[in-house]
């Protein structure tokens, strides 16, 4: 039944809903949900947009959907190889409309930490590190991130380390979609099986929710597109995302 969300489809589909007609949209390394969101949007929406990715692909037509979001197969069927220096320069000069970026911790201003849990110099957990964020988040026209866990450990009042500032335009978790308004994240919608109360309870930072509603269910085409991308449910299984 297409009107039911799975935690996995909720994240991928709501990331896809940030994509706008005619824009240049980018997905990077270590970003399977963002990669799937871009490929889903190509199948589920009528409008055209320019999908570029970290594998150098420009409007690619990959013959398979890779486990790794930087797999060279993502440049298959591309008319060009638009490699790393090129897409970063495009972003810093203002030509990247929408950039999907990963995060470990997000704060109420949409700033991110991907460097370390605990003190950077004596980390409890050494995280992957800087990546695209510090340069892309402040320079992309819009940046959007996701967390597969929604908790006070991931959606925090204070970041252990500010890897990237500039502020996410949108954040998607298994139970909520946030968008930025006047430099703060506000709740746009919540998972219909969740609630405003639950989102508040599991979020470390305070946020406004005046206009928040239950997230509209996936459309037939969104559901069909995701099924086509993940027919065996492999990506959904591997992602191991739970509502609670």
């Amino acid at each position: 039944m297409p009107d039911a969300w799975s935690p996995f489809s909720y994240i991928v589909t709501n990331l896809a809903r940030f994509i706008r007609p005619g824009e240049v949209t980018f997905s990077g390394v270590n970003s399977t949900p963002a990669m799937l969101a871009c490929l889903l949007a190509k199948r589920a929406y009528d409008f055209d947009f320019t999908y570029i990715n970290v594998a150098g692909g420009v409007q690619p037509s990959p013959s398979k959907i890779p486990i790794s979001s930087s797999d060279p197969v993502l440049a298959e069927g591309s008319n060009a190889i638009f490699a790393n220096e090129d897409f970063y320069d495009l972003c810093t000069r203002g030509g990247m409309d929408l950039c999907f970026l990963g995060a470990a911790q997000v704060d109420g201003e949409g700033r991110t930490n991907v460097s370390a849990i605990g003190d950077w110099h004596n980390p409890k957990v050494r995280l992957p590190g800087g990546g695209g964020g510090a340069v892309m988040l402040p320079t992309a026209r819009r940046a959007v991130t996701w967390r597969t866990e929604h908790s006070k450990r991931t959606m925090v009042e204070k970041l252990d380390f500010v890897t990237a500032s500039g502020g996410m335009h949108g954040v998607v978790t298994p139970i909520a979609v946030f968008v930025k308004r006047d430099r703060r994240l506000v709740l746009q919608s919540w998972h219909p099986e969740s609630s405003l109360e639950e989102v508040r309870e599991r979020t470390g930072f305070g946020f406004e929710a005046d206009d928040a509603v239950a997230t509209p269910p996936p459309t037939e085409r969104e559901a069909a597109a995701l099924r086509a991308l993940d027919p065996a449910g492999t990506f959904e299984r591997d992602a191991r995302i739970r509502l609670r």
């Binding site: 390394v29 797999d71 197969v73 190889i81 460097s115 590190g129 800087g130 990546g131 500032s165």
Partner: protein, 272 residues
């Protein structure tokens, strides 16, 4: 014309001394010079500085074997579904190695400064990031009065750039298919360029389409031909990631020697 630049993998790795700064090509599990990295381990290299925007298997196995003193990196992970790089993570948390954490583009800016022959390179963004204070980066005001301030990254000049390529000529001319990731700027920034290639190609083929050459031979110090040398990673379009083997590598019970023994460069007679 110059004489052949083809050497064995052993002799190629032997060019890198203990303590050298080495930039590694490719990204995560894709087109990394992994056979070369394993050869460094076999030769017991120590105190290396590894420079790479997105290292994974390479920095992890080098840390696992105790070859690394310092990492200058943007994002470090195994990728795919494997998450963090466990031996790298432990090495950093236990302070066995020094980490200079970058954004991928700040590391690239440092490489650009070296490639351009200037002491520093301005980079977009970085504003509001704790990485700036962490690395003591400087901010420079636009001397042309725009009022803009820009972060500048000091020159990063590795002793070696080592890349894994699809095809080379006997003179060291190098082709990469699909994305070349950061390999272009690495080969321009480093003092010396070493190449591991899947295949030796005829000079005539390169002359027929010189636009495809990423690195001209005169910039290349030496080359080793190692088919499958990016294993267990991918080398487009020849082969994909060997995920089962990466899983075996990740198994903390499994031994490094067993993994190393399964490498394709073992026993393969190399063109030399």
């Amino acid at each position: 014309m110059p004489t052949s630049k083809i050497v064995s993998l052993h002799d190629l790795a032997a060019l890198v001394p203990d303590g050298a700064s080495v930039a590694l090509g490719g990204s995560f599990l894709h087109r990394g010079p992994f056979a070369f990295v394993r050869e460094l381990i076999r030769q017991g290299r120590r105190n290396l500085e590894i420079v790479k925007q997105s290292p994974g298997y390479d920095i992890d196995i080098l840390c696992r074997a105790g070859c690394v003193a310092k990492a200058r990196a943007g994002i470090v992970a195994m990728e795919g579904n494997f998450g963090l790089a466990p031996w790298y993570r432990r090495a950093v948390e236990k302070k066995q190695i020094v980490l200079e954490e970058h954004a991928c583009m700040t590391l690239t800016a440092g490489l650009r400064a070296a490639a351009f022959g200037v002491p520093f390179q301005p980079v977009g963004g970085v504003h509001g990031s704790d990485l700036a204070a962490l690395n003591k980066w400087a901010k420079v005001a636009d001397p042309y009065g725009s009022g803009e301030e820009v972060w500048v990254i000091p020159s990063i000049k590795p002793d070696f750039a080592v890349i894994h390529a699809n095809e080379v000529t006997v003179h060291g001319d190098t082709r990469v298919y699909g994305t070349f990731n950061w390999d272009r700027i690495m080969t321009r920034a480093a003092r010396k360029v070493l190449v591991v290639a899947e295949k030796l190609e005829a000079v005539e083929a390169f002359q027929a389409r010189p636009e495809l050459t990423l690195v001209p031979g005169f910039m290349v110090e030496a080359v080793a031909i190692v088919p499958g040398g990016a294993w267990p990673g991918s080398c487009w379009p020849s082969y994909e990631v060997d995920y089962p083997e990466v899983e075996r590598y990740m198994d903390t019970e499994g031994s490094l020697d067993e993994h190393m023994a399964r490498a394709p460069e073992i026993g393969v007679s190399q063109v030399a």
